[in-house]
Amino acid sequence: MKTIAVDLDDVLNNFTETLQQTPFLRDETYALSEEVFQDYLAKVRGGWTESGSLLSTEYSFFRYKIHRRCYERAQARPDGVSFMHWLRQNRWRIAICTYRDLRRAQDCTRKWLADNEIPFDYLFMTGHKIAFCKAWGIEHLIDDEAVNITLGERFGVRVYYPAEKRRPAPPANPVETLCAARAFQTFDEIKAWIQE
């Protein structure tokens, strides 16, 4: 059976736009002052990562809460939804493949997929999508992460990414294979590519 892995955030939805434009309001569940709340929110929007040595911090918990709200509020791309239905009609096995922490975000992720009538077979979380696709024999990945766009072809995974995502810079090491990932303006373009 033909299998494809599809990312969610900034691929099937508008996660970053939601993060930047949603007017998040502080409430008592954050247990933060307004000043700290606004500081943390600006840092999350700026993609700031902590340089400290600790795994779990007040900030990392805050970031998860804000991200979760974006998972719930983000809008699905209409052409993405249509494409997923096309995959289903053409008997593709569909694996949703995300960096999200599905231990905590599974429920809201499934609800979002159901609310948007997006068909899929399996949900997977991993920080190593190319390794996942390689291990599971998945040849096609739709994803926006630069490292996956750059390295997919080298490991036998054909990667397709939204054109609004800037193409990654060529690798500094000339031994690296050329980036053969394809940028798409609309999901319709992918239909032909995955049938080549």
Binding site: S53, L54, S56, R103, T126, H128, A131, F132, G137
Partner: protein, 245 residues
């Protein structure tokens, strides 16, 4: 023994940790009505995790047998309202070398173990990949609200003690099972597992230090037989924490 120790935990769902993967494997796994909520490829080698639901009793027996045989690890979830086991999960909170046992971990496991023993609630302390699990087993189920409150107050007591000793409590991370906020999303490896990161057996921490695998199983059997906590004892212990000013 595993089924008896964890008798109160739901057996129709589990998280499975295995090196096996691929759609052929998954399709074999998802038979007899078993469903996959989500899968995960971890950063710890090529270990996959599968959150399974609707597991029939016979299939759970098979999984537990595979767990004892170290073919895979089985992690169970807690009941959403009441449980007869509870567990403090104490982890090293560092991004690197998180498997190392740091002084703060040693200090807090010593303080918390002593605190619980002082209350008459002897814990079963098991080494995990990043620290320790301190299990308590009760003779009957207690409401999650009460278990959580007991654990929160006990952990605070232990953290206050290490703070007074000059340790930084941010170096370690406590999780409580069952946790009222996330009881349906977090699971714990059962005793007898081999940790996915360091491949080390979940050895029991005895009075003289970590026991080997055989001695750990003997300690586990003895704990199950002789150190299950009476309900009256637990209630007295919790009440004594509520009386603290």
């Amino acid at each position: 023994m595993l089924k008896e120790f964890y008798r109160g935990l739901p057996k129709d769902r589990a998280k499975l940790e295995s090196e096996e993967h691929g759609f052929a494997f998954l399709e074999r796994l998802l038979t007899d009505g078993v469903t996959l909520e989500y899968g995960e490829l971890t950063s710890s080698g090529l270990v996959h995790k599968y959150k399974l639901a609707n597991i029939p009793e016979r299939r759970m027996d098979d999984l537990l047998f595979a767990h004892v045989e170290k073919v895979c690890n089985v992690c169970l979830y807690f009941d959403v309202s009441a449980n007869d086991t509870f567990c403090f999960n104490l982890d090293n909170n560092h991004k690197v070398n998180s498997s190392a046992i740091i002084p703060e971990t040693e200090a807090v496991v010593r303080e918390l173990g002593g605190h619980l023993r002082g209350l008459g609630c002897e814990p079963l302390i098991v080494a995990s990949g990043r620290g320790y699990h301190l299990w308590g087993r009760l003779e009957a189920a207690v409401a999650n609200e009460r278990l959580f409150d007991f654990m929160l107050r006990s952990a605070a007591t232990a953290l206050a003690a290490i703070h007074r000793q000059g340790h930084d409590h941010h170096q370690i991370k406590f999780s409580f099972y069952p946790d009222l906020r996330v009881h349906h999303v977090v699971s714990l490896r059962l005793f007898g597992s081999r940790h996915v990161k360091n491949k080390v057996f979940s050895r029991v921490l005895g009075p003289q230090g970590l026991l080997d695998e055989t001695a750990s199983w003997e300690f586990f059997a003895d704990y199950l037989k002789n150190r299950t906590i009476a309900l009256a004892r637990f209630q007295t212990a919790h009440n004594s924490l509520l009386d603290l000013k």
